[in-house]
C-alpha cells in the first residue's frame, strides 16, 4: 500500500481526501465520525460573524438530477452557511483538533466585506488551533444577496482586499475558495495570488435550477409555491471544475499556486485526475452526502493501488504531471489521425454506435443484415461519439493510423510531423512553416 500522506501548505494529513465545507462538516459529531471513517481532513462548515446565526429555509433545500438506476449525478442546494452559533462551532473545532492532531482542520469563514468583521473573527479562529482558514467567496445563493459569497468572489479587487486582511490578522495558511460563476476563472485566482493567498480551492457550487414542478409551475426545490436558484455540485460538475483547475495550473501568473480541488470527486480516479492537473489535494462534499463517510475507503484503496501499480511512492510524485499536456486548440497536432475500431468479440449489437454516427455524425458505421457493425475507415473522422455512446466499455477504441500509412478518408499519407492550425494553409493568419 502506497503511503498517501500528503502535505498541503505545510499541513500534513494521512491522505489527500478532505471533506469540503458543507453539511458533512457542520458539527463535531459529524467530523469525529468522518475522521474515524478515514478522512484526511475537513474544512469546517462556513462560519459567519458573532451574533444571531443565519436561518435556513424550513422546506426542502436540495434538488437533484439522476442517471440510470436513479444514480445521483447532480445535486443543487439552497442552504446557507452554518446556522449554529459561532461560539459553539469554535468550541467544537478546538476539541476536535485537539483529539485529532494528525488530521487537517481548516475553518471556512464568510463575514461581511469590512475589515473590522475579519479583524474580529480571525483571532477567535486562530485560538481554536485549527490548521488554516478558507475564505468562502463562493456560495451563489442567499449569502450573495447580502453582499457575501459569490458576490465577493465575482469581484477580483474584493478578493485581493479580503485576502490581504486575512494575511494581516491571521498567521496560518489562508486558502481562497473560488466561485465558478464567472466567465474566466483566472482573474479571481490571480487576485487571490496578488493578495498573497497561500492557496486557492475550487470550485464552489454552480448557479442552477434543477427542475420545474409542472403541477405547481414552480422551480424545485419548492418552498411555499416558490423556488430560487441554488448551487450545483456532484459528478455532473467535475468537468467544469477540472478545466478551471487546469486553467489556474497553466496560467503564467498563477502557475505553482497551490490548489485544493473540489467538484464532483466521487472515486479515487477523480482525485488522481485533479491532482495530475495540479491540485495538491481534493475536497469532497456530494459523494459523502450521497453515500456516507465510508466512500473515502474506496478512494484510499483505489489511489494507493494505482500508485503502487505506477510505482509512485508519494502523492507528490504525480501532482501536476498532466499540466504540461494541457494546451490550446490551435496547438493540437492536425497530423495525428485515428480511426474507431469495433471489437466484434465485445460488441453486443445494440446498434447505438450506428444510430449516433448515421443520424448525427459522419455515416461511418456500416450495419449488416445480421447486425454486424463495422467502421468505414474511408468515412470515419475519429470524432469519438461512437466510443462515448457504446454501452460496453472499451468495445470501441480509437486506433492511431501510423505515419506513412494512408488515411482512407482523405486519401493522403499520414505524416509523422507535428503540424497545427497556426501553420495550416486554411488558416488566413497562418505563419508559413519554416
Amino acid at each position: 500500500m502506497a503511503d498517501l500522506t500528503t502535505e498541503f501548505l505545510g499541513i500534513k494529513s494521512p491522505n489527500p481526501f478532505w471533506l469540503a465545507s458543507a453539511p458533512p462538516t457542520d458539527k463535531e459529531y459529524n467530523v469525529r465520525r468522518a475522521f474515524e471513517a478515514g478522512w484526511g481532513g475537513v474544512v469546517w462548515k462556513t462560519l459567519g460573524s458573532e451574533g444571531p446565526p443565519v436561518v435556513n429555509v424550513n422546506g426542502p433545500r436540495y434538488g437533484a438530477i439522476w442517471g440510470a438506476d436513479r444514480r445521483l449525478l447532480g445535486l443543487n442546494n439552497i442552504e446557507l452557511i452554518t446556522d449554529r452559533p459561532l461560539q459553539t462551532n469554535l468550541e467544537e473545532i478546538t476539541r476536535v483538533k485537539k483529539d485529532y492532531p494528525d488530521r487537517a482542520v481548516i475553518v471556512s469563514i464568510m463575514v461581511p466585506c469590512e475589515e473590522q468583521a475579519w479583524k474580529d473573527i480571525l483571532p477567535q479562529v486562530e485560538a481554536t488551533g485549527a490548521d488554516g482558514i478558507e475564505l468562502n467567496f463562493g456560495c451563489p445563493h442567499g449569502m450573495a444577496e447580502r453582499g457575501m459569497g459569490s458576490a465577493v468572489g465575482q469581484v477580483p479587487e474584493y478578493i485581493q482586499m479580503v485576502t490581504e486582511w486575512c494575511k494581516k490578522y491571521y498567521s496560518k495558511p489562508v486558502i481562497v475558495k473560488l466561485t465558478p460563476n464567472i466567465t474566466d476563472i483566472r482573474h479571481p485566482a490571480r487576485a487571490a495570488n496578488a493578495g498573497n493567498a497561500d492557496a486557492v480551492s475550487l470550485i464552489n457550487t454552480i448557479n442552477s435550477i434543477t427542475s420545474v414542478d409542472l403541477d405547481s409551475m414552480a422551480p424545485e426545490p419548492t418552498i411555499g409555491g416558490k423556488g430560487t436558484h441554488g448551487g450545483y455540485c456532484g459528478p455532473a460538475v467535475k468537468p467544469i471544475a477540472l478545466n478551471m483547475v487546469a486553467e489556474i495550473s497553466r496560467d503564467a501568473q498563477t502557475r505553482g499556486l497551490p490548489i485544493s480541488a473540489i467538484g464532483g470527486v466521487t472515486t479515487w480516479r477523480d482525485a488522481a485526475e485533479f491532482m495530475a492537473m495540479g491540485a495538491g489535494n481534493v475536497q469532497v462534499c456530494t459523494a459523502a452526502m450521497t453515500y456516507g463517510f465510508n466512500v473515502v475507503k474506496e478512494m484510499i484503496s483505489g489511489l494507493s493501488n494505482w500508485m503502487d501499480e505506477k510505482g509512485y511512492t508519494s502523492t507528490q510524485d504525480f501532482i501536476g504531471m498532466a499540466v504540461p499536456n494541457v494546451t490550446d486548440w490551435q496547438y493540437l497536432d492536425l497530423n495525428y489521425v485515428t480511426k474507431a475500431k469495433i471489437s466484434q468479440d465485445d460488441c453486443i449489437k445494440c446498434g447505438r454506435c450506428f444510430a449516433a454516427c448515421e443520424d448525427t455524425s459522419h455515416q461511418a458505421i456500416a450495419m449488416s443484415e445480421d447486425r454486424v457493425f463495422t467502421v468505414k475507415d474511408d468515412e470515419c473522422v475519429a470524432c469519438n461519439l461512437c466510443v462515448n455512446v457504446c454501452p460496453v466499455e472499451n468495445c470501441i477504441t480509437m486506433v492511431e493510423v501510423p505515419a506513412g500509412q494512408i488515411d482512407e478518408r482523405t486519401g493522403e499519407v499520414v505524416s509523422g510531423d507535428y503540424a497545427n492550425w497556426t501553420t495550416h494553409p486554411n488558416n488566413p493568419s497562418a505563419t508559413a512553416a519554416e
Binding site: 440510470a68 436513479r70 453486443i348 449489437k349 445494440c350 446498434g351 450506428f354 450495419m367 460496453v392
Partner: protein, 444 residues
C-alpha cells in the same frame, strides 16, 4: 381437512385453500413502480432493436420502455396495444425466453435480459386498471365481417376490424370468449380472471357482437356465413386431440390434458378439483408442462412427464422445463407409453425406452413401469371442424402471409392456420394482419 399427498387414487382437497392460493399465485408477480423504473433503466434503446424483430407482433419495445422510463406508462401501453391488442395477456404468457428476451442485447451482454414481459405487463396493467380503452372506432364502413372462434386470433381480428369501422359478429362454440386464454393457459399465468377482464376491456371499442354456443359445422356453415357477410375470418384453433394408441388408453384415470386444464381453469374452487397421487403426463409441449405443474400444485405426490424424444427436442422451452423441475416434476426423456395397466382404473403405466434415428422414434425393447393412477395425454392438438371446402397444408388450413385461404372472402389465422408457431402472440399477429388485409380488400 385436507387429504395428504399420499392418499391414493384421484382425490380432491389434497391441499387446503391456503396452500392452493399460494401455489396458484402469479408466476411473475406484477412490478411495482420502483421495480419497473429499475428494470426500464436497463434498456439501451437499441437501434432497429433485436427484441422488436423477435416479437411476432413487432411491438416497438425500446419505445415503450422509454415511455415507462420517462414516467408515462399509459403511453407505453398505447405503444404496445397499437401492435398487439392482447398485450396484457401476452405479457403474462409469452415464452419471452424464446422470443424478445432471448435476443435482448443485455442477454448477450450479461446473460440477463431486460425483463420486457414484466415491463409490458406493468404498462398495460396501469392503463387497464384505469378502465380506459385507448382506441376509438372509425366512421362506419357499412361492411359486416364474421369471425368464428373467440380466441386470441379472433379477438385481435375483431378488434382491428371494429376499429377500422366494420361491424363484426364473433361466433364461438363455447359459452365464453377467450379461447385458450380462458380455457388453456396455466392458471398461474392468468390470475384474477384476467382473460375475461381483458375481453371485456377489448370489447369497449364497440361494434363487436358476441354470439356464443354457435359452432361451425353445426349451427353455422361456411356457405351461410359467406353469403351473410362481406368477409369471414376463421380462428377455430385446434379443437381435436391426438390419440395415444396404447392399450389401456380407455381405462379410468386416463384423459386429455387440455380437458383437465380447461376444467381446472373454470373451477370455482380448486380444492374441489380431484387429482391423482401418481400422475404421469405423456407429451413434451407446453400443454404437458402445464398439466404436470398444475397437478403438482394441486397436491399430487409424484408427477412425471414422459417424453419420447430428447430434452433438446422438447417443445416446451428450457425455462418451462426448469419451471416444472423446480415444482418437483420429474422429466423423463426418450420413453414412450406401451400400456396402461390396472384393473378397470389405471394403476401403472409401462414405458419403453426409445432410440431416435433420422427423426424416427423406435422402441429399444427395454421397459420401465411407473405407478400411475392418473395419466394425461398431451401429445398434441389437431384441427377439427374445419370446412371441407378449404385447402389444407399439412394438418392446418392453408393460408397466405396475410391469412387468405383457398376460398375468396375467407381468411383464417391462429392455431388453425398454417404458418407460425402455436402461440398466443402469433395468433394475435395473424388475426391483426388478416384484419388489415380484409380491410384493404373490402375498401379497395
Amino acid at each position: 381437512m385436507a387429504t395428504s399427498h399420499q392418499a391414493s387414487g384421484i382425490q380432491a382437497a389434497r391441499l387446503d385453500a391456503a396452500g392452493i392460493a399460494e401455489n396458484f399465485s402469479d408466476l411473475h408477480p406484477a412490478y411495482d413502480a420502483h421495480e419497473a423504473a429499475v428494470a426500464a433503466d436497463r434498456c439501451y434503446f437499441c437501434y432497429d432493436a433485436p427484441c422488436m424483430t423477435a416479437c411476432p407482433t413487432s411491438i416497438d419495445i425500446p419505445q415503450f420502455i422509454r415511455e415507462i422510463q420517462a414516467g408515462h406508462p399509459e403511453s407505453a401501453a398505447r405503444t404496445i396495444l397499437e401492435q398487439n391488442i392482447l398485450g396484457g395477456m401476452c405479457a403474462r404468457v409469452c415464452p419471452t425466453e424464446t422470443l424478445c428476451e432471448e435476443v435482448c442485447v443485455r442477454e448477450t451482454a450479461e446473460g440477463k435480459p431486460v425483463e420486457i414481459g414484466r415491463l409490458q405487463r406493468y404498462a398495460t396493467d396501469t392503463l387497464m386498471e384505469k378502465g380506459e380503452h385507448p382506441f376509438t372506432r372509425a366512421a362506419s364502413t357499412g361492411k359486416k365481417v364474421a369471425v368464428v372462434g373467440a380466441g386470441p386470433a379472433g379477438l385481435a381480428a375483431a378488434h382491428r376490424l371494429a376499429m377500422l369501422g366494420h361491424d363484426v359478429v364473433v361466433y364461438d362454440a363455447r359459452s365464453k370468449a377467450g379461447g385458450l386464454n380462458e380455457f388453456g393457459i396455466a392458471a398461474y399465468k392468468s390470475t384474477n380472471d384476467f382473460a375475461a377482464r381483458e375481453v371485456d376491456w377489448l370489447l369497449q371499442i364497440g361494434g363487436i357482437t358476441m354470439d356464443y354456443g354457435r359452432k361451425l359445422g353445426a349451427e353455422l356453415s361456411l356457405d351461410g356465413l359467406t353469403s351473410a357477410y362481406d368477409a369471414v375470418f376463421l380462428s377455430i384453433g385446434l379443437a381435436g386431440v391426438n390419440a395415444l394408441r396404447a392399450p389401456g388408453e380407455d381405462k379410468d384415470g386416463v384423459r386429455d390434458a387440455v380437458e383437465f386444464i380447461a376444467e381446472l381453469r373454470q373451477a370455482e374452487d380448486l380444492t374441489a378439483l380431484p387429482v391423482g397421487r401418481n400422475v404421469v403426463v405423456i407429451g413434451g409441449g407446453m400443454t404437458a408442462v402445464d398439466a404436470a405443474v398444475q397437478s403438482k400444485l394441486l397436491g399430487a405426490e409424484n408427477v412425471t412427464i414422459a417424453y419420447r424424444r430428447s430434452r433438446e427436442e422438447m417443445g416446451a422451452s428450457r425455462f418451462e422445463q426448469d419451471l416444472a423441475a423446480s415444482k418437483g416434476v420429474k422429466l423423463m426423456f426418450n420413453v414412450m407409453p406401451k400400456a396402461v395397466l390396472g384393473n378397470g382404473a389405471a394403476a401403472e403405466i409401462e414405458l419403453e425406452y426409445t432410440d431416435v434415428t433420422d427423426g424416427k422414434v423406435s422402441g429399444t425393447g427395454e421397459t420401465v413401469r411407473l405407478a400411475a393412477d392418473q395419466v394425461f395425454k398431451a401429445i398434441g392438438q389437431t384441427l377439427e371442424g374445419q370446412p371441407d371446402a378449404l385447402e389444407l397444408e399439412g394438418r392446418k388450413i392453408k393460408v397466405s402471409e396475410t391469412g387468405r385461404t383457398s376460398m375468396a372472402g375467407v381468411w383464417a389465422g391462429g392455431d388453425c392456420a398454417s404458418g407460425g408457431e402455436d402461440l398466443t402472440v402469433t395468433a394475435v399477429a395473424e388475426g391483426r394482419d388478416a384484419a388489415m388485409d380484409i380491410h384493404s380488400s373490402l375498401m379497395g
